[in-house]
Symmetry: C2
Subunit: 152 residues, 2 copies
């Protein structure tokens, strides 16, 4: 499934926010490493997909480093999540006995359920951008109060 002890998303959001606060200054992965407290190599590894998606730019060589390639207000956390977690299951699935029809049916239900939960996570993350993290998350209007169940 997606993560457990996977810190890529947290590191990515941290770095993006840091860059958003650096106002165009080019920041080395060493400096980013100092703030995130993770290895500079790991920082570059995490930032790779973000660069591929055009969220950040990097420049090698002396006085090189990283900077945002888009407005902080245009980078949703959903985008970051999707780039780093891809389509990994959120809930975690198992591999039921294929010869058991009951098991196979439950498996397809769980897969469907996972899709819905992943969509809920995406929807929540879509509400926030790097700018929000930088300036403080907006007060929640929904998301902490839950709708009633369907099947009740």
């Amino acid at each position: 499934m997606a993560r457990s002890t996977n810190t890529q998303f947290a590191v990515a959001v941290h770095v993006l926010t840091y860059l958003g606060g650096a106002e165009g200054r080019v920041v080395s992965s060493d400096e980013l490493s100092a703030s995130t407290n993770v290895n500079p190599v790991y920082v570059r590894r995490v930032l790779g997909p973000l660069r591929g998606a055009g969220l950040v730019r990097s420049r090698p060589g002396a006085h090189g480093g990283w900077e945002l390639a888009a407005d902080a207000g245009d980078i949703t956390l959903e985008r970051v999540w999707q780039l780093l977690q891809g389509d990994d299951p959120v809930l975690g699935l198992h591999g039921p006995a294929p010869e058991c029809p009951v098991g196979r049916n439950i498996q397809s239900m769980l897969t469907d359920l996972d899709r819905r939960v992943a969509a809920a996570v995406s929807a929540e993350l879509r509400r926030f951008t790097v700018r929000d993290v930088l300036h403080g998350l907006p007060v929640p209007e929904h998301g902490l109060t839950a709708p009633p169940r369907d099947g009740g």
Copy 2:
């Protein structure tokens, strides 16, 4: 954080659904193991917290086994999730440099964000019960379409 390759939730839902379809019959962990394709010891380990919460009953000895202790329509998947995943972070957090004020601020933002996402997951899972998994998940009314962002 919560899980990555953690299958406890999936196994639990599988077993609860299986028991819900067994209509009061007492089912051994060996039989549950055969359907879920995981070890019977692991089945019992996963079921432990559910028994503690009164969702299932177990009886040792000959002809012993497991049965539901509540109506399948009263067991929400949110309850199962909370019992097994507890308050583990959903997004996965890192440990930023404590001496960096920027880092500490971002950390608190990420913790807040994780709470919201966890609430969104809970809200989605609250819509479904074991009965829903048994009879088929209801058609989604919301959850696959996302609300607009706050901070835009």
